[in-house]
Subunit: 235 residues, 4 copies
């Protein structure tokens, strides 16, 4: 059983009518319903929880964390962000969705600005498969069509990835590296661009498929409990 | 002085009126005029030359080779392609333009199919800068606009590059990794997608700038004269 | 069931007494016994077989090929080497052992000289784990101790790998990147340095464990049947 | 003129006699003397300076920062470490020496634990050239011999580098990736392992040569003044 914890800041859905219409009980609940199956159990936490619900105990029992945040990145305490980073480095998998490119844990794990260009014009997007043999791309065709998405554009200032899995192309012309993989310490990381709060992107089956694939891919096979530099004896 | 050798198969320009109108004396001559300056001297060779003009002596005195080919890839003798590969591995720089993705030397150097999807509908293309700090991207803005280009699409089956410098987005929706860097042995390689024979792409100043930047970038600082596995003494 | 095909040139074992003593029925048979289990079935082929036993039909029914060769690389026909390369590009996994760094298929897939420095002084080697979370390193400790191995040294002229899994250190002082991963087209590739013919390296349980791990890792999840560039319609 | 700023924590040299004997006026002054030339001017700062001497103004006028720290990493204020990170992301080059693998700015830029194993037995080390064509390796032979160094061992928990330039091998058997390159945002980063405070490593001409090469390599050609995500108009 893969134990997934979904963190959703859960602010837009509580404060904006047009977002609540799309995700009445929050993005996290839509994702939870999409992922739960006989292999995967899902816990959800939000900014409303003490310490974002991400205590050391919760993270120790999380195989893969999924992160959605946007307007309230700054409300995630630094200790929580650092704790998430540490657990990824020790082996926990992590999937960062859409505007989580600017979340504290993602930026801590990348070491780069993670900046991009953006506009919000209701563009359609095609998420093109660049690496069809990658486990995360299984079950996806040439591209995933998204009727409306926030437009993200390059330069996306992240490190060169292990592998580029998807690249998005938008109605208005921009392109964006939409699916990127990383390893940081023992943990595997997938960044996936789709998922603006005003669009029902997370209800699209192929998007759910990609995220589920990523959960299997990021599920750790090796995990440590410390990050220090051990003194060793001569071999 | 950087010694550049341009190989152009030079078939379209001799056999198709609409291409001759764009490049009356051949793509190679347009590139030569674009590159020649006080730092760079340019030699041109074509399929009409014995051994494609790419003898061992010529390659030894070439710092950076530029390759354009399309319909006549098969007419490049295997020995010539292997010789080019060997000189790149020993340190010669190489720039492969547009349909040279399917040229023999490029495929030998990549070890992959180097396949892609394509259509020819007169799309405009924007070549977006992904890595603005890369030497090859200097002097280029957010994107280069090309009024008409052949459309190339992913998956582009090349190895993960050292760095992705450009990604193209086409009018019809496709995206394509348009500028990629590699090292193979001692040699540096740049693949650059623009440059279909029926469009005057190589006359666009920003495209010329990118190719010139790539010449400086690929110019070798270290070169060997053999590729074997030396037996060594215990250090 | 993962279908593994082991190619061993099988020359040393037939012509050198000291090698026959180590591997009486050939390196391939030792590897076969090490790998066979309820998940893995193994076929073996050698230079003695017509076309090295590597017909198109055999390769189509091979999930992962394992290659050992040394003194007879040149006897592998070019068509066979190219066929192996093509099947890897279409998705077949490949594991290249020890002196297979100079085999035709490996060089075709890397696009580099794949050269190294070497001496044969009976050094012991430690194969150090660099990436303990990688699936190929599971079940291995800090290092694998090999009482005697042929010494390989850098520069190992291969492309930058996806990930460096192991680095070897030898009694005499040399270091060598001993475990490297690649993707070429749809196929996953693992190069693993241990396994000189005069040493019983392939009988060491941890070495067998690494190769078995690599079989699981390289087992394809996606495979194509062609390598061409399809013309596509506008999306 | 390349403007180099050397940060040395400058604690060992002031508090330990055996270190003062090696570097009487501090590691930074030895490095300064090694680097200064008609192309390079050097400023030095230490923990004794207010804000480590690394104000925004100083960093704006620094092309490449060199960092040496060990026992006093924790005394570098977080704001200073973040400021250094930000300037690297905007384009400043950075060279991290030896125990700076655990410095705050390096860890912020890598996003990994940057841990390793270590012992201090007076081992000799050979720093082997893995990538002889890399600009940082020019002028170095097969290896650099260091009579005594602190022993560092894998796993070195850093991200996969752009390129591996050097790998160290120690008398006692350990191996370590000793020279690694990264890009973070617009900035280029080189990590170089040699340089324990009790050994006169920085007085060895080949070590000085590598660091000087790295200064030229990391010298920025492109720099920004902000790290945010700009809203853009449709192209």
């Amino acid at each position: 059983m893969i134990r997934v914890t979904i963190f959703n800041e859960f602010v837009h859905e509580r404060t904006e009518e047009r977002v609540r219409e799309v995700y009445p009980d929050g993005i996290h609940m839509t994702l939870k319903r999409a992922l739960e199956c006989e292999d995967i159990e899902v816990k959800t936490v939000t900014l409303l929880d003490d310490q974002c619900g991400l205590t050391d105990d919760v993270l120790k029992e999380t195989d893969v964390i999924i992160w959605w945040g946007h307007m309230a990145h700054g409300q995630v305490p630094n200790e929580v962000a650092q704790r998430v980073r540490d657990h990824v480095q020790m082996g926990m998998g992590a999937i960062f969705l859409h505007s989580a490119h600017e979340s504290k844990p993602f930026k801590l794990l990348m070491g780069t600005p993670c900046s991009l260009t953006w506009r919000e014009d209701g563009d359609f997007e095609r998420v093109w498969t660049v690496n069809p043999a990658h486990p995360i791309a299984q079950g996806v065709g040439r591209f995933i069509y998204l009727p409306h998405e926030e437009t993200y554009g390059e330069p996306f200032t992240v490190p060169e990835p292990l592998e580029t899995v998807f690249i998005g192309g938008y109605e208005g012309g921009e392109v964006f590296r939409s699916g990127l993989t990383y390893r940081r310490g023992n943990g595997k990381i997938f960044y996936f661009q789709p998922g603006h709060e005003t669009n029902p992107t997370f209800k699209i089956p192929e998007i759910q498929k990609v995220i589920k694939n990523a959960v299997y891919w990021a599920n750790p096979i090796y995990r440590t409990t410390s990050l220090g530099c051990p003194h060793v004896e001569k071999p």
